[in-house]
Amino acid sequence: MAAEGTIQRPDETGRPMTMVLIDASRHGREPPADELRKRGLEGLGEILPRLADGDSSVELAARSCLRDLVDAFLADREANRDLFSLAHTLGGLISATAECFWQPGEEVYSLNCPVYALHRPFAHSIAVTVTTTCSICGAGAFRCLHLPGNFYEGELCVNEVTGIGPVGHIALTAKPDFIYTWHQPLEQPVEDLIKRQIIKRPGDKATCTHCLECGGEPTADDLDPVTRFERMVEEGLAREQERPA
């Protein structure tokens, strides 16, 4: 399915949080883990020597490669556990050559970096219905026998979205349909950044050095986010029950 959109909902602190409405598959389908891995490692082979030489002109290609490595891990954590570490290595080199800047805002600074998806405890899923037409024959949903992701006379079949219905429900989950939903902008209140002496005043430049500081080794929880999320839910429920009425 190829559709794009975002919605805003408040997070646990009440601040608005942007959520991806529907996966926007770059190829009309979600690339499988092995394809992402292959693409990421091929890119890494080309980029790594240049970054190591301090060549910052490959920054964009390096960030795209970083996304592939992270997505491959998110798509199949056990098979791609080595990519967790490789992504941090690449992130560290990007950080050292091109630097990673927080986007300053009035109240919060934000950062869109795929590396943080590696550490996120849950993603989200949104129930939604869309109307579509087939890119091959123009028929409505389920009205033809073309399969999205297949090629017909050299043309890739995709479902082109013509209308998006209201959001049914939003679920926090460690087992989302779409790996893209693991990616969320990271936000830090200006106040916190000042307290931590990262900036002196709002608008100051702030760089992210996570990849240089993180060990880059996946924990058992990183490899099994479903169990971690179930534990988080149980702990949350237990705390609720302990709370006096």
Binding site: A33, P148, G165
Partner: protein, 158 residues
């Protein structure tokens, strides 16, 4: 890992659609949701229905999307178990159960070559409970076990 089976009451909206349609020799599918998009009534079905429809056409099995009056079909998406099959109206014979098993087997074979771990499958089917009410029978478990369960039904012709 045992298969987990549940019986879930059918929503009034879906009960109305189901009661208007009797199970046929082919595959009949209920929508996951009915909503309005750009002023049109749209019934959402899971994307897998497209591939199942193609497989059914190849096997000469009729597929019917059960739509409320005036609705057009759309694509429904949400998270859940690894693979959630469309909501079938009672599969009345072994051929249809076999077809779904073939679809899952194909999906699993393709998946197995490219991933580790084990996908969970949720099969859902509207059946008549002993008291005559229609309920959704949900069966969830590892892909090979769901496939085997469907194969048993194919062999038994039910």
């Amino acid at each position: 890992m045992p298969l987990e089976e549940r019986a879930i009451p059918l929503s009034p909206e879906l009960r109305e659609i189901a009661s208007d349609n009797e199970s046929s020799d082919g595959i009949a599918v209920l929508p996951e949701s009915v909503t309005e998009i750009d002023g049109n009534l749209v019934a959402g079905f899971r994307p897998d229905m497209q591939a199942i429809g193609v497989l059914a056409a190849e096997a000469g099995v009729a597929v019917e999307l059960l739509l409320p009056d005036g609705a057009e079909p759309g694509l429904y998406s949400e998270h859940d178990a690894d693979w959630v099959l469309p909501l079938f109206l009672e599969l009345s014979n072994g051929v249809t159960a076999g077809l779904i098993a073939n679809y899952l087997q194909r999906l699993y074979d393709e998946w197995r070559g490219r991933n580790s771990g084990m996908p969970t499958v949720r099969h859902r089917e509207v059946i008549s409970a002993p008291d005559g009410t229609e309920v959704v029978r949900e069966l969830e478990g590892p892909a090979p076990e769901i496939i085997e369960w469907l194969r048993d039904r194919e062999r038994d012709g039910r």
